[in-house]
């Protein structure tokens, strides 16, 4: 390694570490606040490591909010909706990216346009429709509502477009059906995109509270975020508890992300596509 390279590497690390600290400060504050007594939360200068960590905050939130039921409901919704979204989106994206059929661009445009409409605009008509199907206050209704997003299709199409057509033509000449191409070529090549989509869907559904708020009214159907949101408004002056609750709700998403890291590391580079 040359001297220039070493200096470059050191600078790179310094930059990365500084950036990482910048990114983490708010979370450090959150965790530190979650272990403090309420009166110390805003005291300055900030005491990053509380001298007397108040673990009781975590016990308190667990007692005040039926988190287990919430986790069960959230996991049900998130897992099913994310799975449906990944499968149907990558299917549709293949059609949009690599197949030709009449009206393709028009339909795709319709998908893209809907991404731009704020949910508040069609929240009421959507609620009325889902109510008429008898699906309000059911997890099924919420799952269906969140399983067919235009963003998922758009994301997958964008990745599929980048996969060279020659590869598909070669496969077709080899006698692979379109379904075979989707399963044997497109999916394996787009692992990173699928991972991105899973995370995006997972994060959205995990953190969503407006949907559950409007569609789920029975207490045994409430989700974690809904419970946390209600907790936040009910204990609006108790930052320590709010931060503890936020920390708890973040853990599963973070763990999932760590697991999916593998796909980003592995990447799609090894596939040997000729550019």
């Amino acid at each position: 390694m040359t001297k220039k390279n070493i200096i470059g590497k050191v600078i790179l690390y310094i930059v990365l570490i500084l950036l990482a600290i910048g990114m983490l400060v708010p979370f450090a504050w959150m965790i530190s606040a979650s272990l403090k007594a309420e009166k110390d939360v805003f005291s300055f200068p900030i005491q990053w490591i509380p001298t007397n960590p108040k673990w009781a905050n975590y016990v308190t939130i667990w007692k005040k909010v039926p988190l287990l039921i919430g986790f069960r409901n959230t996991i049900t919704i998130t897992v099913i909706a994310t799975a449906l979204q990944v499968i149907t989106s990558s299917f549709a994206a293949y059609a949009f990216a690599k197949l030709t059929f009449k009206g393709r661009d028009t339909i795709f445009l319709a998908y893209v346009m809907t991404i731009a409409i704020p949910w508040q605009v069609y929240m009421v008509p959507q609620f009325i429709m889902i109510k008429n199907m008898g699906l309000t206050d059911t997890l099924v209704g919420l799952i269906l509502m969140q399983s067919f997003t235009a963003t998922g299709v758009f994301l997958m199409r964008q990745f599929y477009i980048g996969i060279p057509n020659e590869l598909l033509e070669a496969a077709r000449i080899d006698g692979l059906s379109e379904y075979g191409i989707w399963a044997k070529i497109m999916l394996p090549l787009s692992k990173a995109a699928v991972a991105t989509l899973i995370i995006q869907g997972f994060v959205f559904e995990w953190n969503d509270f407006m949907g559950p708020l409007i569609y789920l009214s029975s207490s045994n159907k409430k989700t974690v975020q809904l419970m946390l949101r209600m907790f936040n408004t009910q204990y609006s002056s108790n930052y320590a508890l709010i931060m503890a609750a936020a920390t708890v709700s973040l853990i599963p998403v973070f763990v999932l992300f760590i697991f999916l890291q593998r796909y980003f590391v592995q990447g799609i580079a090894a596939a040997g596509i000729k550019g």
């Binding site: 979370f27 299917f91 339909i107 809907t114 731009a116 704020p118 008509p125 980048g162 998403v253 590391v265």
Partner: protein
């Protein structure tokens, strides 16, 4: 498998072109339908209905829907000062947030794509704000930027700045504060998308470029950048759309204030619908948002087409 290859062989015969076309269309629809049906029922129809509402007067009540033609739009353009203010704020927010986020996301992606120790850790760190719930991080961010006792201003004052910005409490600085929060929270996601794009670049291309004597910057310009253009298009689109329709950040932090300094179009739509109870009018404002994004998308399509043709 043998069945499909037989079909492919048959398809090769030119006289069967018509039925082949039909067959292909059928296959295409079989890919499309599972998503299309759900999308139509749960998203498209309610949206289509809302857009029809933009020509109507409807209060979401059982007082009936009244067709009013273009009245909503006329009122919006001629009388509603808040509409113009929020349109201006939306453009400000978008024009700053989009390039800044895109640039930082690409830089971060390039940095954490390098073969260094601990890159998984760094990726997770940069990505983490994206997964965190907005409600939680917004509270933290606002505490850090508190104009009087927040750590940020304490540090600025210690550095000798007598009158540091009053951040969210000031007409001038409220929007930059919110943009900062948006970029910080969102860039991790776009970084990940870029990362997926970067890893799709064939390493042989770099080797070839290096053999031709290209330096790092030239390699970036001639290899990396063209290869990740579809990713950039995706990020650009998603960012523009996300910034255009974002309102929750303002709702949680500034409620659109001070005054109307951070009131954006989507916030105005929310207010018109749920505060004023004018769903028809809210749909009309949404229609404007829709048209702007439609134009952006069409331009993007054109450019993308030219790019893929060139490839």
């Amino acid at each position: 498998m043998s069945d499909t290859s037989a079909k492919a062989a048959a398809a090769a015969a030119p006289k069967k072109k018509g039925s082949l076309q039909r067959h292909r269309t059928l296959i295409a629809y079989s890919f499309l339908l599972p998503n299309l049906i759900g999308f139509m029922v749960f998203t498209f129809v309610p949206i289509a209905f809302s857009l029809v509402l933009s020509l109507c007067d409807w209060g979401a009540g059982n007082t009936g829907i009244k067709f009013v033609g273009l009245d909503n739009f006329i009122q919006m353009f001629t009388q509603d000062k808040s509409f113009w203010i929020s349109l201006k704020n939306t453009l400000y927010y978008t024009v700053v947030t989009v390039p800044v986020t895109l640039l930082i996301a690409l830089l971060l992606a390039i940095l954490v794509n390098k073969p260094i120790k601990g890159r998984t850790f760094f990726r997770s760190v940069f990505f983490f704000p994206y997964v965190a719930s907005l409600v939680a991080v917004a509270v933290v961010w606002m505490a850090l930027f508190n104009p009087d006792k927040g750590p940020v201003n304490s540090i600025l004052m210690a550095l000798g700045i007598a009158n540091p910005p009053r951040w969210a409490a000031s007409q001038t600085w409220a929007m930059p504060t919110i943009i900062g929060l948006t970029v910080w929270k969102g860039m991790g996601y776009y970084m990940i998308v870029y990362l997926a794009g970067l890893q799709g670049v064939n390493p042989e291309l770099y080797e070839a470029a290096a053999l031709d004597g290209a330096n790092k910057w030239q390699q970036f310009l001639n290899v990396t950048w063209p290869c990740i253009t579809p990713t950039t298009f995706f990020n650009l689109m998603m960012l523009i759309v996300a910034t255009f329709k974002s309102y929750d950040i303002m709702y949680i932090t500034t409620q659109g204030g001070p005054g109307e300094a951070t009131k954006v179009l989507a916030y105005h739509i929310y207010n018109s619908a749920f505060v004023s109870g004018k769903f028809g009018y809210a749909s009309a404002v949404a229609m404007i948002l829709f048209v702007i994004v439609a134009c952006v998308t069409l331009i993007q399509f054109r450019v993308e087409k030219r790019f893929t043709d060139y490839l």
